[in-house]
């Protein structure tokens, strides 16, 4: 009974405040936002952040509930979504970099096709790599003095988002030994704090949440961000961390590291797929344009809220939220890599970590 009362009172409160005027009316409906990860991950946080905001902005204020379908590192959920057809606009699906990477690398389990789906919103993040205090002293904006140190890094797996930092460090000529099998970046940071790992990276929100504190106390030295993309697709400093150089700058300053050529192209391709376009909300194949537009408008209204920048900064970072056409373009950049980049990374994974993706 208590649950119901709570639900009714909240529902009533939102209904009163709702100016519902649009062609697509969703009042009384329940939208399921399926996340192919467990309740505990970053994508869950992302969807839970947007769900109540979306509910406020959609015409008719439908209830938006987040559902979880974890399995096989999101491949299970994405394969399931591929089978779904448009019904009445009550199904939304959220992907992450971990959904994009197996797709880009040709994982045999992938049975989904991004281009079939209808993107309505996309958002990105950044990442910061940092060193322990001792080795950090040797960092002078280039990796020249770091090349004969053995670093230890707590990693979730070479085929995951960790591909981006691992390849970057390799390009800088650093010797980083990944210890595989940790469950989240938080565990990696803890390993770093205990002194077991000597190098680490966090996505922006993770860095702001805890690692920045370490840097302030002098226990960690920020090394580089992965950067952000400008309108022309160039890598520029991450707006969240304007004082930290990008990998591109560090690479340019380091002997033997090139910001052109196949290694660089491959790194950049996977960076773009993994960070600036990390999480995308999709409607299923066959969604009519007016419904897609309704969702895009609602997400547009969400990002235009006066307080959006402030609340988003805590939850999803100060990164651009793409909607509608912008989301479509972002999805295209995030889900295509050149065959050369793909072949390069596949080959590197095989040689460095013995990972074969047939």
């Amino acid at each position: 009974m208590t649950i119901k009362q709570l639900a009714t009172s909240v529902a009533a409160a939102t209904l009163i405040a709702a100016p519902a005027l649009a062609e697509v009316d969703m009042s009384g409906k329940t939208i399921e936002w399926v996340i192919p990860f467990s309740e505990t991950g970053g994508s869950a946080k992302w969807a839970n952040f947007f769900a109540p905001l979306l509910s406020e902005e959609l015409p008719g204020n439908p209830t938006v509930v987040v559902k979880f379908m974890p399995g096989a590192g999101s491949t299970k959920g994405a394969n399931w979504f591929q089978e779904q057809e448009y019904d009445d606009g009550t199904l939304l699906f959220g992907t992450s970099g971990s959904t994009q990477f197996p797709y880009l690398l040709g994982d045999p389990r992938v049975r989904y096709e991004y281009s079939d789906w209808v993107p309505v919103m996309a958002s990105g993040t950044g990442g910061v790599a940092y060193l322990n205090a001792e080795d950090g002293e040797k960092f002078d904006g280039s990796a020249n003095n770091l090349q004969d140190i053995d670093f230890i890094y707590g990693s979730q797996g070479a085929t995951r988002l960790d591909l981006v930092p691992l390849l970057a460090w390799e390009m800088l000529g650093m010797n980083v030994e990944p210890v595989f099998g940790i469950k989240g970046r938080g565990d990696g940071r803890l390993m770093f704090e205990r002194g077991e790992a000597t190098i680490d990276y966090q996505t922006s929100s993770g860095y702001l949440g805890a690692s920045a504190d370490l840097a302030e106390q002098g226990k960690a030295v920020p090394m580089m961000t992965w950067g952000a993309l400008d309108d022309d697709g160039n890598i520029v400093r991450d707006p969240t961390f304007p004082d930290i150089p990008t990998f591109k700058e560090v690479c340019e300053a380091t002997d033997g590291c090139e910001t052109s050529g196949e290694a660089w192209d491959a790194w950049k391709a996977f960076f773009v797929a993994g960070f600036p376009v990390q999480k995308i909300a999709f409607l299923p194949a066959g969604t009519p344009d007016d419904v897609a537009a309704t969702f895009a408008e609602a997400f547009d209204a969400v990002r235009s809220r006066d307080d959006f920048a402030a609340i988003a900064a805590k939850q999803v970072g100060k990164y651009e939220v793409f909607v509608g056409e912008g989301a479509k373009r972002a999805t295209e950049t995030g889900t295509t890599v050149s065959p050369e980049a793909k072949a390069y990374v596949q080959n590197w994974l095989q040689e460095a970590y013995g990972v074969t993706l047939e």
Binding site: S38, A44, L53, K67, G157, M191, R194, G195, L214, K314
Partner: protein
Amino acid sequence: MDLFVTALPALGQAWAMILQPAVLGYLVLGVVMGLAVGVFPGLGGIAGLSLLLPFMFGMDPVLGLALMVGMVAVVPTSDTFASVLMGIPGSSASQATVLDGFPLAKKGQAARALSAAFTSSLFGGLVGAAFLTLFIVVARPLVLAFGLPEMLMISILGLSMVAVLAGRVALKGLAAAGLGMLIGTIGEADAGGSLRMATYDIPYLTDGLQLVIVGLGIFAVPEIVSLLRQDRAIAKNAELGAGWGDGVRDWVANKWLSLRCSLIGVVVGVIPGLGGSVVDWIAYGHAVQTTKDKSNFGKGEIRGVVGPESSNNAKEGGGLVPTLLFGIPGSGSMAIFIGAIALLGSGDIEVGPSMLRDNLDITYSIVWLLALANVVGTLLCIAASGGIARLTTIRFTYLAPFLFMLISFAAFQSGQNFEDILALFAIGLIGIFLRRFDWSRPAFLIGFVLSNPVEKFSNQAFQIASFRFRDSFEAGMQYIFSPIVIVLLIITVVSVVLGLRQAKSIMAEGDVQAGSKRAPLVFLMVLLAYVVAALINANMIPDYNMTDKIVPLVVGGITLAAVLIVLVQMLLRPETDSIFADKEMAGEDADAPYGLWSTLAWFAGLIAATYVLGFILALLGFLVSFLRVRAQAGWPKTLILTAAGIALMCVMAGALNRDFPPGLLQDVTDLPWPMN
């Protein structure tokens, strides 16, 4: 000293924040909701918190915290109902409670067991809060002192409890634990992604089996089937003996045990990465080792209830330390908790290192909200325990169909796959035979629970140690043999030696008679076949993925050796030897009016019908036919009970926003909820 200068006012502010009618009201609301969710096995804090999440956005922080903390805090209290009354582990934190709690219920002392458990939970929760109040401001270095070798040693300490719970034939206990560990390695390896006893053609197996399913399968299914075969009430003679007052007195008599187990709970809870899965077993082992007369363990020893229950609520308090100080969730529900905190108010409470500096008052309110929620939850539970204990006097045939319904639903919620229910059935079969032939089920479960931590920590600690050794021999030794590791090592050795000496007197399955050789031998051969298959399978993993194969190989090798020795012993010994224990030879199961397979067929029927018709329609048919045919109930009773069961499912699924397992019918037709 300046710590106290900041800590004391913060503590005062925290109390001022908490002690407001609105806050207390939300706390009670959270507690009631937590109780409602927690009494159902398999639906713990994650389901409950997910339910609250949509309301957290922009909510007043203290109110939101009161609601969430109230809910999280009572789950390890309320899950005791299922553990004690039905023998179903309500969550991973109350697995050990089943061992002695359920036998007490069978003796008609359910109310006593419940109130002892709740009092212990309350005390554990308060000890946890008091400890944290003093400790949280200085906790950081201690948490950081627990590196991978230390965590590995704690996992091994948990594993050493197998020695206590191995049963009469120690080798069988060892083999059961090994088998549990091997089953725990099924699926994609964490480190290198190799597949163990799984294939991409069966995607379900690549993720491995869920603890909820294994816990329900190993403990719940065998007990439900056994009781159903005997066609009687859980409490023999259908009488309720000792009441709730006795339970409180039992706690008073064992208050020091309760205190020690609470401290074990809070300390293990503080260490991130272990979660609750080992705490209750370590506490149970401790309770056994510190009891003079061990003959009652497994048969209804109240100390076996007090120990684990004191530790599991204290653990929740301890688990707040990594959650709040490091932003690293100690459990699934804590992960949602972190996410939800960020939604509160204007979002300026940030979990992590800054929490103590910027929000010490909030931190203290969380700690003491937790303690208050424990008090409220316990009082409600104790008040209810006398009445709910009456369930044990009902003829079990009327309870069983609803238990099958609940565990199927709970199993399905763990992964939303039809295979979840199949896995429950398969693991249930293993459980039935482990029970029948007196292979220690607790040992199996401990092995399963600790399989992943042992593998993960040993691999990672090994890798880091090898880098240290590359630096210098000294650095490597220092890393592996830290003072904490050495202390834990000594405790482990002592507990194994003591445990082996005591194991013979602790019969988790009761005194099982031996009979013929054939059936126990056949079961042994099946185990042998699986172990050999797992070994061959692990050996096929290429050597560059050594991290993925070494643990299955070592564990499989030890298990194989244990099984082979048991085989030799079986061949040499007479058929009256206790190694041939078989519940079908004498005792309750042998005298039961119904056979094993015909009883199990009802459960199988529910699953098969679900596959075709979907859960709700299958359940309708199952309940009606079970109540009519097996329970011989009249039509009015049948229809009322069926309607009640279906209504309960629909309310639960509706409120928690969960799906039912769909069947083939749902693929081809479009039915209205809840039949879709």
